[in-house]
């Protein structure tokens, strides 16, 4: 292995042209690529274009943006919305959680008027959701109006894990009681990459 090339913020890395592109941790200024982090230079080949990236040694700081798939845990239910804490963005586990809100009209894609929050989620459920355009600063609006989004992990009122049995129901593994949830159709990751 070659010795890692260390760079610091503001260091000029290379010229910006057709074969070199600025990637994560870098920025462009006056025809050159500069580093914006302290870390190690990494050149990734993408379709014949060399993407220059800088990998920081620390953990990565990430902020949810519109369209991201996030993993969140439900905390509070009301008639009109449920509050959640966002724990992961994509594949990255966050060191600090963000607050999110899931409104009643964003729970399902169809039959929006007949959705009832307490028949879809319960506190403690781990859900997959998509981040909606941000309109107010203090919270992120989430949506589960897709088949692939909804409850992934849930526990019954007796405290045992539940398995999905239909789009709207989950069953306790111990007591065999059925509870209502907005179940997510979990797609294995390797299937996504093939399509």
């Amino acid at each position: 292995m070659t010795k890692p090339l260390i760079c610091v913020p503001g260091q000029r890395l290379c010229i910006l042209d057709k074969t070199h592109e600025s990637g994560q941790g870098t920025y462009e200024r006056q025809g050159y690529i500069y580093s914006s982090l302290a870390g190690v230079v990494d050149v990734v080949d993408k379709d014949g274009v060399k993407v220059v990236e800088v990998q920081s040694t620390g953990e990565q700081t990430l902020v949810p943006t519109q369209g991201d798939i996030v993993t969140a845990q439900v905390t509070i239910l009301t008639q009109d919305f449920c509050k959640c804490v966002i724990k992961c963005i994509g594949n990255t586990v966050l060191s600090r959680t963000y607050r999110g809100i899931l409104r009643r009209e964003d729970v399902c894609a169809t039959d929006k008027d007949r959705v009832q929050i307490y028949k879809s989620y319960r506190p403690g459920d781990v859900i997959l959701a998509r981040v909606l355009p941000i309109t107010e600063a203090h919270t992120y609006n989430l949506s589960t109006a897709e088949n692939e989004l909804g409850v992934v992990i849930a526990h019954s009122e007796h405290g045992y894990p539940m398995v999905p049995i239909s789009w709207t129901q989950m069953q306790c593994t111990k007591m065999y009681t059925k509870e209502l949830r907005k179940v997510a159709k979990v797609v294995p990751e390797n299937m996504n990459t093939k399509t």
Binding site: P9, S36, G39, V40, T57, T61, E136, A137
Partner: protein, 253 residues
């Protein structure tokens, strides 16, 4: 050497430095575990701690958040035991508020805030020992803490002071002793690589003819400080990298 002279006939200052010499700078990154980034910086006897939290969701007044950029929240405080005379309160007085605002301006020039919309970055700076050049030390420490936190910066932002001795010789990096002896102090915050001045402040007036001389020395001081910080950051990255086996950096290969 007379007590009153800023610069002796043989060109030495009160503390034995030459006119264009900096005080010794020692610094360390990652001194705390709780914040996302932290740094400790010693510039002569001035000792400063800096901690950075974020970027995170905006707390408190929700109207402050911006849709296209992160907000930087700076808090400057001086420990009550940091000065010769014990301070009544560590923050909230006029001087601390002013320095907080100046620090905010200085950092805003370097941090790539547009990458984090609707978020907030907190920078807390604490002075443990004030011996002149408190504000420049805070800027330098905050830069290191931001780098440690992995927050993208356009480049280093460095600060330095300069003064005029005996009405014709420029001096760099003014200590508390020299500040109290008198003489105008020029504080410059700069982006040393692109040679841009972010912030400039003057405590007294002197003749305009002297300004280029003093300003150039202050800018040179910023560049020298940048070189010192650069070494420390590189060493820090190397230490972290080799202790983790460069694991985080090679995961894509």
């Amino acid at each position: 050497m007379s007590r009153k002279e800023l610069l002796s006939k043989i060109g030495l200052r009160q503390d034995g430095r030459r006119a264009e010499e900096l005080r010794r700078i020692r610094c360390k990154l990652g001194v705390f575990t709780q914040p996302d980034g932290s740094a400790y910086l010693e510039q002569g006897l001035t000792k400063v701690l800096a901690a950075v939290y974020g970027p995170h969701q905006v707390r408190g007044g929700r109207s402050k958040a911006q849709h296209d950029a992160a907000i930087i929240n700076c808090q400057f405080s001086m420990a009550v035991f940091s000065t010769g005379e014990r301070k009544k309160r560590p923050r909230g007085d006029r001087k601390s508020t002013e320095i907080s605002i100046h620090l905010h301006q200085a950092l805003l020039a370097a941090v790539k805030v547009e990458l984090y919309p609707w978020s907030q970055i907190d920078v807390y700076v604490e002075v443990l020992h004030a011996d002149g050049g408190v504000f420049p030390a805070c800027v330098n420490a905050a830069t290191l803490a931001l780098i440690d936190a992995g927050i993208p910066l356009k480049e280093y932002v460095c600060a330095c002071t300069a003064s005029l001795a005996n009405n014709n010789v420029a001096m760099v990096d003014i200590s508390n002793q020299e500040e109290t002896l008198g003489g105008p102090v020029l504080t410059v915050v700069a982006l040393p690589m692109s040679a841009k001045i972010v912030h400039m402040e003057m405590s007294q007036r002197f003749h305009l003819d002297h300004l280029p001389k003093v300003l150039n020395l202050a800018l040179q001081g910023c560049k020298d400080i940048k070189a010192i910080l650069d070494d420390v950051v590189r060493q820090h990255v190397k230490d972290i990298g080799s202790s983790t086996g460069w694991s985080q950096t090679n995961r894509k290969q």
